[in-house]
Symmetry: C2
Subunit: 294 residues, 2 copies
Amino acid sequence: MHPEFMAVDWGTTHRRRFTIAADGTVVARDSDDRGILAVSDFPAEIAALRAAAGDMPLLLAGMVGSNRGWVEAPYVEAPASLAALAAALVSPLPGVQIVPGVVQRDPARPDIMRGEEVQLFGAQALGQLGNGLACHPGTHSKWIEVEDGGIARFRTVMTGDLLAALKARSILSDILAHDPGLDDDFIAGVDHALDASDLTAELFGARARVVTGQMSAAAAASRISGLLIGSDVRTGLGRSRADVVTLVGSPGLNARFALALARAGRESISVDGETAFIAGARAIMAAQTAGARA
Amino acid sequence: MHPEFMAVDWGTTHRRRFTIAADGTVVARDSDDRGILAVSDFPAEIAALRAAAGDMPLLLAGMVGSNRGWVEAPYVEAPASLAALAAALVSPLPGVQIVPGVVQRDPARPDIMRGEEVQLFGAQALGQLGNGLACHPGTHSKWIEVEDGGIARFRTVMTGDLLAALKARSILSDILAHDPGLDDDFIAGVDHALDASDLTAELFGARARVVTGQMSAAAAASRISGLLIGSDVRTGLGRSRADVVTLVGSPGLNARFALALARAGRESISVDGETAFIAGARAIMAAQTAGARA
């Protein structure tokens, strides 16, 4: 049993914090835009958090532990277990610990994650993931193969980042001003991308469909979402034969990926990313206590 | 024979103009940033061009004929011949003609071009392209199948646009601040993309290679260029068995695509895009004169 503590999901632009009681109850939660880019004095920031919430242990995860953050928490190498992660926490101040990310040093397919590892072990602690395949959809979707209860291999697909870049500055900007639907046009995009590998042509094709009057701009936005998520799912599944994929993310994004996985003939389980983060933070604290005792 | 005229390649952000004598000599050339987005009064703009260069016929091509330009010159349907293009010129003012674009109304693969059709027929007039496959590399690369001397089918791949979007606003921005080389890292990216169809994962992989110390940021920029151009070439070639591809574009971009085509086992002929534009403008003027006579 570990005492009350505060878990902070500290990203590049956003920060979410949760005060978690010894029995797992979340007694306070808050989110703001004090991401690492907005913070220069981290000790002062920690003091402010403690002044607001009380003096308690802090567990920080995400980009706060990157070389752009406060203190670099060196990556743990995959395959990576919960115990390995808990043993590699970095403490920049008394009572403050930073969760390291995970690195895959395969020369043919190097990859990195920082933050998703907490959610992954959280989904496991919630009983939503045994050995098998998990997907964290998002800016940089992570597809994680779990073996022996740990992170065996993983792959990042930069779907959300690509979509945001195209929305901000490309011939598709006008189309992408529309919110994509979860509709037949989305499904048609998914189906195309699951079968074919001509994404960079089909993206322009969505615009050609609008210009030729075949499709409204709103429908084209749905198609583009389907093309990108279908490509993500095709790439993320790779050669995996997993019948069921555990999705760990926001409910809205999980729903899009669940539909795409269904089109690929796979079932899915949806786990809320925030819930998974809280459970993962508790699991890491518990594993660390167990490790210290051992 | 047609008299001296001015050909204007009038795009979204840039404008290039050439005064072409009856014998084909380019007697004046100029370029500026008076693209269609910078112009509101087109008749005044034409008057200014004539005041500077003399009173002569004008042939305008590119986005000036789009629904965002001066006057919409309706697309000619593929398959499209040079004669069909010349017969569909739109004249918004006496002595001013706008070249229409080409549309492909295939419901499974609609596509559009506006501007490349002039270069395509120019490459043909220069004797650099018979029936076969042409590629116009660029913001929106066009792969054009030529049959019976005309544009039979084509496909757009938004390689340059995607690269610019990723450079402006994505996790790859820092890497893409480096100019890509035409080197082994470029070739490795091309080779990967010719074989595999995991572009959106491999793009992030370039960053992972930098973070894990496997590659410098400059090398990763070369790899990303290779991944994007390799994908472009794989998609553009499709099922074509063309042994030789005619590249019509800037010398620098042609060289990158020529190398990628070589890795795909294809030869290529490089035609300078500006030279092709001038030859194409002459061919359209000549075809129109012939058409009017017939």
